[in-house]
Subunit: 120 residues, 2 copies
């Protein structure tokens, strides 16, 4: 499967998901797929969060709390779950507040290796 096909398949499997994306730490989206209307700019959010994730990784290194694996951010009307894939990439789901976060978490973990290979 191509990267686009994989992301599409992941998006279709998660109820309440607005978008799934693969990002580099340079905050450039490698690829992303969207469905429905999030009501805000999903891509801008991902890019902005890229900066934040770099900060969090640095913090974790500073305090020696072990390698970063996952971040979830809940706002009044959305959820985002971000999974570190390797030193270059992270993947993220953006969901509605009622979206299936557990499924999104599972897919990000289960498909991590395939996603990285598909970028290659």
């Amino acid at each position: 499967m191509s990267l686009r096909e994989q992301l599409t398949s992941m998006l279709e499997q998660v109820e309440g998901a607005f978008a799934v994306m693969l990002m580099g730490y340079d905050c450039i989206a490698i690829d992303e797929v969207q469905q429905g209307a999030a009501g805000f700019d999903v891509q801008t959010m991902a890019v902005e969060y890229g900066t934040v994730i770099k900060e969090i990784r640095r913090t974790i290194e500073v305090v020696g709390a072990g390698e970063m694996e996952e971040i979830t951010i809940t706002t009044a009307n959305s959820r985002m779950i971000i999974r570190v894939l390797n030193d270059e990439f992270f993947a993220a789901f953006v969901l509605s507040k009622e979206g299936n976060l557990g499924k999104a978490r599972y897919l990000l973990r289960a498909k991590a290796l395939e996603l990285v290979e598909a970028v290659g």
Copy 2:
């Protein structure tokens, strides 16, 4: 109950919790209680995360994704859950990887108002 008593009570109720703290956005801990050995500097971590949380709030504002409520950060050997209490404070639990995150989340939500009142 004093703030210290409330935090102590919360910490005792969550299996696998290393620390619970109330922080200001100026990254100063209002108060915190710890138990067990996290293996890293919990307070430094909280202070560093304070900066990150400010960044995330700003990001969420920029993209219009609604008010920030909660962040969880998972590393190779710990979990941290941070809940925004109001414009001045946030509260956070630091747990082991096997700690009861659901209980920590519940307590942060349920005790939010009491914690804010106890600061005053």
